[in-house]
Structure formats: C-alpha cells, structure tokens
Amino acid sequence: MGPLNLTAEWGTLASWLTPLAIGIGFGAVLEMSGFGDSRKLAAQFYLKDLTVLKVMFTAIIVAAVLLGLSSALGLIDFDHVWVNPTYLVPGIVGGLVMGVGFIVGGFCPGTSVVASATLKLDGLVFLGGVAAGVFAFGETAGFFDGFWRSTAMGRFTLPDLLGVDAGWVLVGVVAMALFMFALAEAAEAWFGRGERPRLSAILSRRPMAIGAPVLLLALALTTAAIGQPDAEDRWEMHEAELGPKLADRSVFVHPREVAELLADTQVYTLVLDVRDESAFNLFHLPSSRRVAPAGLETPESLKLLKSAPDNEVIFIVSEGEGGATEAWKILAASGVQNVYVLEGGISRWREVFPSAADVSTHSDHPDFERKVKLIKKAKAAKGCG
C-alpha cells in the first residue's frame, strides 16, 4: 500500500534515482508547456494567454482526483502523504510577495530552472535573483520569526475545513476548475485574438473538450460515492502490519511499567480511559482522561494525538483489555505513534496496586517485561517548497 517507503522497499539507490526521474518528468513537462518562456508566463496576467492557469489547475485536479480515488480504494494511505502545513497569514503574505516577483521577473522558481536549462539568459539571471532572495530571507528571518511561525494550523485540508468527505470537495474543485477553464478560453478569445468568445467555437476547436472533463468529474464522483476509509477500513488496510503486535502482546504494558512511566519526568504520558462515566467516577488512574470510543475517531482528536511530541506515550485503559484494544486499533491504524494498552485493564491495575499508596511505592520488580519503546515520528518536516 502506498505511498512507497522507497529506501525500505527498493534500497537507497532507488530513493535517490526516483526524485531524479520525477524531476526529469517535471522539467520536461514544464518546458513542453512553454513555461521556459517568460513572455508566455507574463501573458497570463494580461489575459492574452492563460496557459499558466490551465496547466496548473489541470495538473492539480488530475493529481488530486487520482490521490483521492487511490485513498478511497485503499491503494494509498493518505495519512502518510505529505500535506503542506498551513501557516495562513505568512502563506498569504508570502504569496502576495511572490505574485509581485512573478510579474516583475516573469518566472517562478521552478520555471526559471527550465528556462535556464534551455539557455534563456533572463531565466538564469532570475535564478540568481532567487538565490539572493533566499539568502536575504535566511539573513533576516530572525527579525520576524514570530510572524513567520504565526497562524500555524498544522495539517489542515479543505475536507477538514468544510467537514465533508474529500470526494465531494474534489467534485467541487473539478467543477470550479472547469468553470475557470471556460472563462480562460473566453478571455483568450477576447483579449488575445480580439474575437467574440463563443462556447461552440471553444468546443469545436478542442475535440477532447468534452470527454476529458466528463471522465475527471466521473472519477471525482466515484471517489465521493466510495468515501474515504473509516476507522474499520483503515484497520483492514493495516492489519497485516499491526495485527502481529496484538498477537505477540508487545503493545500490552504491565501496570508496573505504566506506573513507572507516569512517574518519569522525562516522558509525557497520556492515559485515555474508554470506560463509561460512572465506572470512571468510581475509580480511575491518576491523571487519566475519559474519552468516548467514538470520540477518538473524529479528525480533530486524531490530529491532536498525531501531533503529540515524540516523547509522549499514550496508554489506553478499559475495564479489561477488550475496549482498549478496539480503541488501540483505531489509533494505530490511523498512524498515531506510541500507543499502548494497559495489560489486564483496570481490574489488573487494582490487583497490582490495591490502594493509591501502593502506586507510589513501586520498586524494582523483575517479574515483568518492559515493552514501551518510544518511536520517533517518521517525518518532521519537508525541506522543500
């Protein structure tokens, strides 16, 4: 199931050659589309040639629909796909600054690379300018660090914002893009060729004009109809890799180890109690929090748990092990790291520590095996933009 972990599955060489190959495809397509020519790029902003908009939005909707559909079909685990974290205000300000740079310089960084490759001198000089601007940012970043890190919303997607399934967002995005393409064709006819824009003229010039959008819309609708995987689907996708951890009991942690870690000041602990409220009120572990099992599946709580620091251990607690194990499946399959289950549940805890005073008097007991291993999260940040 994708995305591939290249180094693990194909070796180090492949992990270097793949981005090279993808880069070659990227550069070739940009050049073929005319993005090595600053005048063609600038014409976008005089509404004479809207190639930039057409290429960009076509690429976005094609890739977005393929990703959404692969995720719905369980071919790609979207949790493992990098989503640019949202820093709303610095992003918008940076975007406005880049828009100014675009119309002044005639390129964006990627297209200037392609222009340089085909020996366009303005592209090369632009690229030198980019390096200077990047350097200037590095030199001055300290002065507005607070602003640069402001309005951080983490991994935040349009489906999260709108609270609807990604498939329906895709339908909307594709429809919006098609509407923009129609406007772009009209603008090109009017501003570029001085013709009256007519829909029939647009359609007759492009035989693919009906088929391709219909196909893309159909794929987006299919994605919406299937829906993104829920907790149960995600467990099925990951059962081969996570099931053995339940079978060999490596995620069931002895009460004494839990007590040790609760007292350890080097690690953060989060104890989630999935029992009902009356049971929780009668007795619960120190500093534990009661959560309804259904509440764990919500995007907000998953996001919160996934953003936990690397030195945080999450213990799930139920009366026995049953309820906690179900909750563990939900969290582990959703990619939450460092989640464990209290072995034997609350009933076992009370056998081991008959009173609260016993908890604090723990000493070395060789009769249990320590199992918690803090796993560092795979990906902290992408170095690229």
Binding site: M32, D37, A59, G110
Partner: protein, 174 residues
C-alpha cells in the same frame, strides 16, 4: 519582437497539465511528497554559503537547520529533483529545438532592463517563497493537489499579487 514560431509548437495546455498531474501523482505515490524547486535552490545556496563562511551557517538558526555542523545541505532528495528538472527541461528543449542563448522580453524594453527586472523579480520571489514555505510548485501545485487549506489561500494570493501589479507593468511585457 521577433515573431514567435515556437508558440504553436508547445503542447496543448490541458494535455501538458494532465501530464504534469500524472508526474505530480507519481511523486506522491512513490515518495509521499509532491514537487518543488525553491527548497532545493535554498539548499544549493546554503551549500555555497557554507563553503564560503561555514561558521556563519552554524550561527544562523535558519541556515543551521539544513546545513549546521556536519550536515550536508545537498544530501536531500529535493536537490536531485532540482537536477532532474534541469535535465528534463534541457532534453525537452533539445528535442523541440528551443535550446539557444537568448533573452525573452517585451518589445519596448532593453535587454539590460529585462535582466535587471529578472534579478529583482527573482529576489522578491525567493524571499516570498521562503516566507510562504514553498514556491508555486511546492505550495500551490503540490499543496493544492492534497487540498491543503494554506496552499489554496497561497495560490490565490500569488495570482492576486501578480494581477494587482500587472497593469502598472504593462509597458514591460507588451
């Protein structure tokens, strides 16, 4: 302006966009990340600074993140993608006979003006790209495809910034 025989030989933008979408999808499926350029340009630039003034890189938090101490800023997949982008652009340019030293500019400005504008625009763009944590490819294209809220806001800001200034600069391009 010399009349442009090239224009008609570019591929249909919707076909180009579809191909670009496929490359972008392949990037996500194979590497879990999208496309990008400015991050790698940043790394190359930091590598140069490191050679010239290594101590400075270590003392500047922003540079140290990618190149501090024994870190090699070039040992990163994005740098290979940048190399690939150059190679791909060159191959397509050779194939279509578009590799020649020239300056593309509006008919009313001199080559020097165009180059000065290109440098200034590049510098503004480079600064903005780091501010926004990504360029048109890394933020707008890649973030747009994974429906990131920030990337969509960014994308409209880029178009907004460019359209807002386009009228004042019309002499330079037309």
């Amino acid at each position: 302006m010399k009349s442009d025989g090239n224009v008609e030989r570019y591929v249909n933008p919707y076909l180009g966009g579809t191909l670009l979408g496929l490359v972008l999808f392949a990037a996500f499926a194979l590497t879990s990340e999208g496309l990008g350029a400015s991050g790698a340009i940043n790394r190359v630039q930091t590598a140069v600074v490191k050679v010239v003034a290594g101590g400075h890189v270590d003392r500047n938090g922003y540079f140290a993140e990618t190149a501090g101490g024994s870190r090699n800023p070039l040992a990163h997949p994005s740098v290979l993608m940048l190399a690939g982008t150059l190679v791909g652009g060159l191959l397509s340019g050779l194939l279509h006979g578009r590799v020649r030293a020239e300056i593309r500019k509006g008919p009313r400005i001199s080559a020097t003006t165009r180059l000065l504008m290109a440098f200034a625009g590049g510098a503004i763009m480079g600064f903005g790209a780091r501010m926004a944590r990504g360029c048109t490819s890394g933020q707008a294209l890649s973030g747009g495809a994974v429906l990131s809220v920030g990337s969509w806001a960014f994308m409209f800001a880029v178009f907004g910034g460019a359209y807002a200034l386009a009228y004042s600069l019309r002499r330079y391009w037309n």
